[in-house]
Symmetry: D2
Subunit: 285 residues, 4 copies
C-alpha cells in the first residue's frame, strides 16, 4: 500500500511558489508522485495539488502541517490543506425515499471500490431503515417539518459531531437545509440535482421538460451553499432523450445520470482532487 | 437513385389509422421502405412517417396529395405533408460575423454531403461577401437597425420569395426577427444557440458560466417561434468543460458543439424526419 | 396499471404485412399504443414491434398466439413472439468475484426500477453467498474445472429448468460456457465485456491499452453465441481515458461503463425491445 | 497578444526536477502562467509542460535553448523542446478524394480559429485542385503507384523541405507511406482513421460493422509510425449507431466523428500540449 500525503494550495499567483513547495518536499526527501497546477489568469489566483510519498519523508506526519505553515504557507499567504491518504473519510448519508443514489453509494462502499466509512445515515423517512440495519449502519429517522426544522437540525449536527463525520452526501435528500446548518460544513456537503436545457423552475420540471421536448437531461453535483442549488459545481453530465421517452422514462434515465454524476463528484472529493475557490471548483484530473 | 416519397402525419390517435395509411399505399403498389410511428400517450396524439418507393406507384406524383387528402386524411382529420425526395430543398443562410456554422454548412453542401441548394445568403455585415462570391451565391448585405427593421425585413421576405426558399438557417445570425417575419415561415426557420447548466441570462453568458465553473457547455437547435429561443427543440448536445478552459477556450469549444448540433438539426429537417407538435418535435431516427 | 401485449415480428419484407398486423389488432379492438417498424433494405427483411392494450381486446390472452399464427403469421412466414407485459421475467445471475454489475442489478431489482424476479444465483465462488442470503435468493456455488465442466453445466441447466428461468445474465461471470449449454438458451443469455479501440487480445488487455495510451475504454453487451464475445451486440458505450489514468483507474472507470451498458441491454431485453436477426440486433427505442 | 514560450520535458523521474525548472524560469523573471506535470508511476518517467511569459524574461529568445540545455536539461538527461507561441506552424495537407476533414481544416484556418499557415497541399488526385487555387495554396498532384512510390515520396520530401513544413496532416489520405518517408518526420505526421468495437479487418470495415450491428462507430487520431495505424494515439471519440443506420448513414456519421477527432488532435499538437513517449502520448489539458 502506498502511503502518501496530498497538499492542496490556493494563493495569489506570485513568483517562486512552485519552487518553494517542491523545494520543501524534496529537501526533506519527499518523493513527489503527482503535481498539478492551475493558474486562473484573470484573477491571478494560483492552485496546486501535490502528492508525495510519506515513506522516507524527513518530517514526521504530526509535524508536517506546522512546518509547512511556518516555512512556506505563511510567506505566500496560502489557503492550504494536507490530507493523509491512509485516513479513511467518514461519510454521512442523508436520504429520503429515492433509492438510486443511496444504493449506488452503498455498493461502492461495500464492494471496496471506495475507501470510506459510512457510520451514519439520516433520513426524514423510515423507508430505508432495514437497508441500514442490514449493513449495521446507525440510521436516524428525523422527520422534519417547518416548525421543528431548527431543533431537528441541531439533533443532526450533534450526530455529525458524535460520529466524527468528514463528508455529508445528500443522496436525493428532499429537504432544504438552513443556512445555520450549511455554514458549519463548508465544502463538506455534496448534493446532486437533475436539470435540463433550458432549466424549468417550478414543481414539476420533468413535465415541463417533456412538454418542451428536450433532447437531453442533465445532472449536476455541487457543494451546498446557502444559495439553493447554486454552490460550486463539481461534476455534470447529460443523457440523451427522445420523443419516445415518457415522463416516467425521463425520470428513469435521469436517475442513471444522477447516480453517475454524484459518484464522480464523491470520488473526486474523497481523493482530494478538488479545490473550491469563490463559487467554482478546480478539479484536478 | 431511389425515388421515394415521405408522408408525415399528425392526428388524434384513433382506431384504424395505420391500417388506412398502409392500405392506401400498398393497394396502389407503393412499396414501403420505412415506417415510424409514435403515440403521445397523454394527449392521445398520433404521429407517423412513411417512406415508399415511387417506382411502380399507381398514383401519379401530381395527384397523390389530392388522393391522399380525399381518401385518407379527411376521414381522420390529419395534419399531413408529403415530400418528394428528389425535390432539393432551397436554403437561405442568415449570417453575421461568426464563421463556424456558416462555413460548416457551405462545406456539407459543396462536398455533396447535403442535397440542398443555397441560392441566397443574407447578412447584416459585409464580412462574408467574398465567401459568397467564391461560391457564386447571391449575397445581400442588409444592415438592420431598430429604426429600419420592419422595412429591412420586408426586403428579406421579398428575397425569400424571389429565390423560392424552403428553409431559413440562422447560422449565428445575431439579429432578433420580428413576429411578423417569423409567422410567415412556421417550422421553416432553424436557429442555434449555446447554453449551459444552469442557464445564465444577461449579456455575457460565457463569463457567467466561467465564473460558476460549469463542467459542460451545450448547444440547442430549434425552430424559431415568436418566443425568443423557446421554439420546438430539434437537437441538443454538450461538450465537457474543465477549470483549464479559459473563456476563450469555452467559446472555441462552444463553437464546435454549435456547428455539430445545427448540422444535425438541418440534416433531420431536410430528410423530413421531423414533425413539430405544439411546442415540441417528434424526430424520427 | 396498463396491461399490454407486445408482438415482435421478423419476416421477408412483402406487401401488406403492416396492414395485416394492424388490421388483426384493430378489428379485434386492440388499441395500439406503440408501433415500430424497420426494414433492412439490403436483405429485404422486415421487423416490427407493436404494443397494444389488452383491455377490451376481443381475443382472450390464452388464444391470441394461436389466432395470430393462423390468421396472420403463417401467411407471411413470420418469426414472431408475443409477450404479455404483466409477466415478470425470471432472471438467473451468473457471477464470479466482481461486484459491480452484480450489485447494480440487485439494486435495480430491489428498488423496483426493474420489474423482474431473481430466483437463482450461480457462481463459481462462495464470495457472494452472504449477499444472496441477505436477499433470500438461492445461491448455488458450482466451481467449474476443465474436467468437470460438462457435468457442472448439466447441474446448472437443471437449476435453470427448476427455477423456470427466462433470462440468464452473465454479470462478469468469468467462465466460458460450452456450445451445448449455449444452444439451449438462444438470445436468452446476456454477457458484458469491456474493450478498447484498438482491441487488445491476450491475458491483460488493460495493460496493453494502457501502454498504447488509448483515450477511450468501451463496454459491449451482447447475446451469447458459441463464438466467444461475438454474438449479436445489444448495447455499447465508452468512457474517456487520459494519461492520468493508471491501470487501476482504467479498471475502475471500465467497471462503471460495464455496469451502465449491461443495465441498458437488460432493460431493453426485459421490455421486449430487441429482435435478434442473423448476428445483429434490432433494438427499438 | 501574449507572447509565451512552452517547454516540454520528458526524463527519468528524480528528485529536484520541478524545482530546477521553475527556479530556472523564475530566477530569470519568467512568469509561469501554466504548469502541468505527469509521472508515469511504473516506468518512473517524468513529463512536464510549462508555459511562461517572454515579456520581461531575462534570457533572450535566441539563447534560451542553449542556456536551458546547459543549466538544467543536461543534469537531468532530459528530452525537451521549447516552442515559441508566436511561431506559426506551417502545415502540409495530404488529401485524396474525401472532402470532410480537408474542408474542415481549411475552415478552421480561414476563419482564424487555428493560427497556422497552409503553404502546401499534396494529393494523389486532381479532384481538389480548384479548392487549393481558391485559397492560393500550392497544390501538387502526385499520383502514386506501387512502381513509382519511392520516387514520388522523394518528390514529396523535397516539397516538404522547400516549404519548410512543421506538421503533416493526412486528411483522409488513402496512401500508405513508406518507412523511409515516415522516419524523417517523427511525431510530425498526424493521421485519422475510423474504427469500431470490435475492429473489423479487411477491405470493407463499414459493411462488417453493419452486419455485426455495432452500436457505436469511432475515430482515432494518431502520430504515424511505421507500424500502420498503430502509432501513439492522440485523440479518440465515438458516435452512436443504431439499426436504423444504413452503411451510407454509418459512413456519414463516421465522417463527422473523424473530422471532430482529427481537429482535436491537431489543436492539441499546434498548442504544444502533447509529449509522445514510447508508443503513447501525454496530452496535457
Amino acid at each position: 500500500m502506498k502511503e502518501t500525503a496530498i497538499l492542496l494550495i490556493s494563493c495569489t499567483d506570485q513568483s517562486g511558489v512552485v519552487a518553494a513547495v517542491t523545494d520543501f518536499l524534496q529537501k526533506n526527501s519527499g518523493n513527489i508522485i503527482n503535481l498539478d497546477e492551475h493558474i486562473e489568469t484573470e484573477s491571478r489566483q494560483f492552485f496546486m495539488r501535490v502528492e508525495w510519498q510519506l515513506k522516507g519523508f524527513a518530517i514526521p506526519e504530526e509535524k508536517v502541517k506546522d512546518y509547512f505553515e511556518t516555512l512556506v504557507a505563511k510567506r505566500f499567504e496560502m489557503d492550504w490543506d494536507i490530507e493523509f491518504c491512509q485516513c479513511i473519510p467518514r461519510v454521512a448519508l442523508f436520504v429520503s425515499k429515492h433509492a438510486h443514489c443511496f444504493f449506488d453509494i452503498l455498493n461502492r462502499w461495500e464492494s471496496g471500490e471506495w475507501k470510506i466509512e459510512i457510520p451514519l445515515i439520516i433520513s426524514n423517512h423510515e423507508k430505508f431503515h432495514h437497508i441500514a440495519e442490514r449493513h449495521k449502519i446507525p440510521y436516524y429517522h428525523i422527520p422534519i417539518t417547518k416548525a421543528n426544522k431548527k431543533e431537528m437540525e441541531k439533533k443532526e449536527m450533534a450526530l455529525i459531531e458524535k460520529y466524527n463525520i468528514d463528508l455529508i452526501i445528500l443522496a436525493r435528500y428532499m429537504q432544504i437545509l438552513t443556512g445555520e446548518f450549511i455554514e458549519n460544513y463548508p465544502n463538506k456537503i455534496i448534493n446532486i440535482h437533475h436539470s435540463s436545457l433550458p432549466a424549468f423552475p417550478g414543481a414539476n420540471p420533468y413535465r415541463s421538460a417533456y412538454e418542451r421536448g428536450v433532447k437531453i437531461m442533465g445532472a449536476t453535483a455541487h457543494y451546498v451553499t446557502e444559495d439553493l442549488d447554486a454552490g460550486p459545481i463539481i461534476a455534470q453530465d447529460i443523457i440523451p432523450i427522445s420523443h419516445n421517452d415518457s415522463i416516467a422514462e425521463m425520470r428513469r434515465k435521469g436517475k442513471d445520470v444522477e447516480k453517475r454524476v454524484l459518484a464522480q463528484a464523491v470520488w473526486e472529493h474523497i481523493n482530494h482532487k478538488i479545490i473550491p475557490y469563490k463559487n467554482k471548483t478546480i478539479v484536478f484530473s
